[in-house]
């Protein structure tokens, strides 16, 4: 069976109550699900012997600016044994800007989640070390949000004291 169908089918079998939206664009499979089950889905995908998504390539977020669920957290995961790449997505709303951390599943998620937190202000629950990645710790804004101006905010990064 095609691995794409297998992934979707296995997820549906294992999480019968959940609504999975799967899209296939340019030969890339994307699966979207509610954010509450993100750790369960990820640990299932990693531990299932037929799938073995053991490599977390990237975690980031998208800011949709005016949409109701403002952010989407995006995970690119890869199975080295099956040579198969999968994209997972979960919506996060601005009013409840939190999602569970997947650092317990893949250690590589640590810095990638920190970067998403730094750039979008999405908090990752149970993250071992949720600090800003690039910006100074006392920086008040989240630069990759669409409402942050391209030229920056004057005075937001204080110059060092003499």
């Amino acid at each position: 069976m095609d691995l794409k169908e297998l992934v979707v089918q296995k997820l549906k079998e294992h999480f019968p109550d959940t609504n999975f939206e799967s899209t296939n664009y340019r030969d890339e499979l994307t699966i979207k699900f509610p954010k509450e089950i993100v750790v369960d889905v990820c640990s299932f995908l990693k531990s299932d012997p037929d799938l073995e998504f053991n490599f977390c390539e990237d975690i980031t977020a998208i800011d949709w600016a005016k949409r109701k669920d403002r952010f989407t957290v995006v995970y690119q995961i890869y199975s080295i044994n099956n040579n198969f790449r999968l994209r997972l997505k979960a919506d996060v709303d601005e009013s409840d800007c939190k999602i569970d951390s997947v650092t317990s599943v893949w250690k590589a998620a640590n810095w990638q989640e920190r970067e998403a937190y730094d750039m979008y202000g999405i908090k990752f629950n149970n993250h071992p070390d949720l600090r800003r990645m690039y910006m100074p710790e006392d920086f008040e804004y989240y630069p990759l949000r669409k409402d942050f101006p391209l030229m920056g905010i004057p005075g937001s990064i204080p110059l060092p004291k003499k």
Partner: protein
């Protein structure tokens, strides 16, 4: 997460925030010490900053601090057209700008649903492999320099200079090349450039063997790096190591083989894999990869077909400048693309290439506009530096520079 790291955080954060950075130690017999290394340190390959906690000479915790070269390229990409971002990719991994150019245009082409003509694809493979050679030359040279063998650096840079001369002929620039275009490359590879490439790879293997001879039999070098910074296969995968580093830990993960973008599946080359996972293995993987790259370049030169180097698709591909100045149609298309962009259809893609440092991926989201709605750069160095604390803990202070040199981070792409 290491329990030691958790313990150290409040202190370090406080030290980072306070203007005075000296940390007082209450217990007079306490022999732990906080050492700040970088961002201005010659062995950190740029502006990497490490905060090390030492017990005598042993590192017991390490916290990397990134962001000293953060220029916000992902934000910039959201505000400019796909064409305008090509020069910015040069500044990511500035040791091998050509490979980044190739990665970016391949991602945009996948998003727009176009494919470059075969000759352009062969030229791209050639420049990507030459970029890998230059990158590994710098990596090996500076790695040897970090552990005290200065001459190797001069010799490898001499070889690198020859590749820079090839790039000079190819596109007129030595460092920030911006040679690729969406749908092809900027101009056809000149016969002189191809001849010079042929000459370069013919003499390269002997010269590389010479460089190698300087350090492979050097007992000081071998003993400083052998068995230092060992990481197992499972941990390397879990922590997100890619490129030569993961192949030194016994994982044959090379995107040129497993994803076979461009025309790599038509070529015959091996993926060097070592199982030791230490600094020496990472050095040997790079050496072998350069030999494989010369093999690839030689085949590319033999097999390179004749023909166009730019796709003929006026809505997506910028026409050549000489045509813009002489033909009406091309002038209109040029105006439309420069002002309104190439408008790929609504959708999202992730495309990764095997860059010189590891998996270089671009995640692009298009809303059908001239600029990307979202651009995420999955930079290999960022994920490789994440492994540093794991490699450093338990090692001696003098091994820190050897381990940083062996994973070969480039801060331009780690900080974006």
């Amino acid at each position: 997460m290491d329990p030691d790291l958790k313990e150290i955080h409040p202190k370090i954060i406080q030290a980072l925030l306070d203007t005075e950075t000296d940390i007082t130690i209450d217990d007079a017999l306490e022999n732990e010490m906080i050492l700040n290394m970088g961002p201005q340190h010659p062995a950190t390959h740029g502006v990497l900053r490490l905060v090390l906690r030492l017990d005598g000479e042993t590192v017991i915790a390490c916290v990397p601090d990134l962001g000293y070269l953060h220029r916000g390229y992902e934000k910039l990409a959201e505000n400019m057209s796909y064409y305008e971002f090509i020069p910015h990719t040069d500044r990511l991994d500035y040791i091998s700008p050509m490979a980044n150019n190739v990665g970016w245009v391949l991602a945009v082409e996948k998003l727009a649903g176009i494919e470059a003509p075969p000759r352009a694809q062969y030229i791209r493979m050639m420049i990507a492999e030459l970029a890998r050679i230059t990158s590994h030359l710098v990596a090996i040279g500076s790695f040897a320099m970090d552990v005290g063998a200065l001459t190797v650096f001069l010799w490898t840079l001499r070889e690198r200079e020859k590749v820079l001369d090839i790039w000079d002929i190819l596109c007129g620039a030595r460092f920030t090349n911006s040679y690729t275009r969406i749908g092809g490359v900027a101009n056809d590879a000149q016969p002189e450039a191809l001849a010079k490439t042929k000459w370069f790879i013919d003499q390269f293997e002997d010269n590389l063997a010479e460089c190698e001879k300087l350090i492979n039999t050097n007992r000081i070098f071998i003993e400083r790096v052998d068995g230092v910074g060992v990481i197992s296969k499972e941990e390397a995968i879990d922590l997100g190591f890619t490129g030569p580093n993961i192949r030194a830990s016994g994982v044959p993960y090379d995107l040129r083989k497993v994803q076979s973008y461009l025309k790599y599946k038509d070529l015959d080359f091996d993926v060097p894999v070592y199982t030791e996972g230490d600094c020496l293995a990472r050095y040997f993987v790079r050496l072998d990869e350069m030999r494989e790259s010369t093999k690839i370049v030689r085949q590319v030169l033999d097999k390179m077909p004749q023909g166009e180097v730019l796709l003929n698709q006026p809505k997506k591909v910028l026409p050549h400048k000489t045509e813009v100045y002489t033909k009406m149609e091309e002038l209109i298309h040029d105006f439309m693309i420069v002002n309104f962009g190439i408008n790929p259809p609504e959708g999202e893609i992730y495309h990764a290439i095997e860059g010189s440092k590891g998996e270089l991926g671009f995640y692009l989201v298009s809303k059908g506009e001239g600029h990307p709605w979202k651009c995420k750069i999955r930079s290999p160095s960022f994920n490789n530096i994440q492994v540093l604390p794991r490699l450093l803990v338990g090692q001696m202070i003098s091994d820190v520079v050897a381990i940083i040199g062996s994973i070969d981070p480039i801060m331009g792409e780690a900080d974006k």
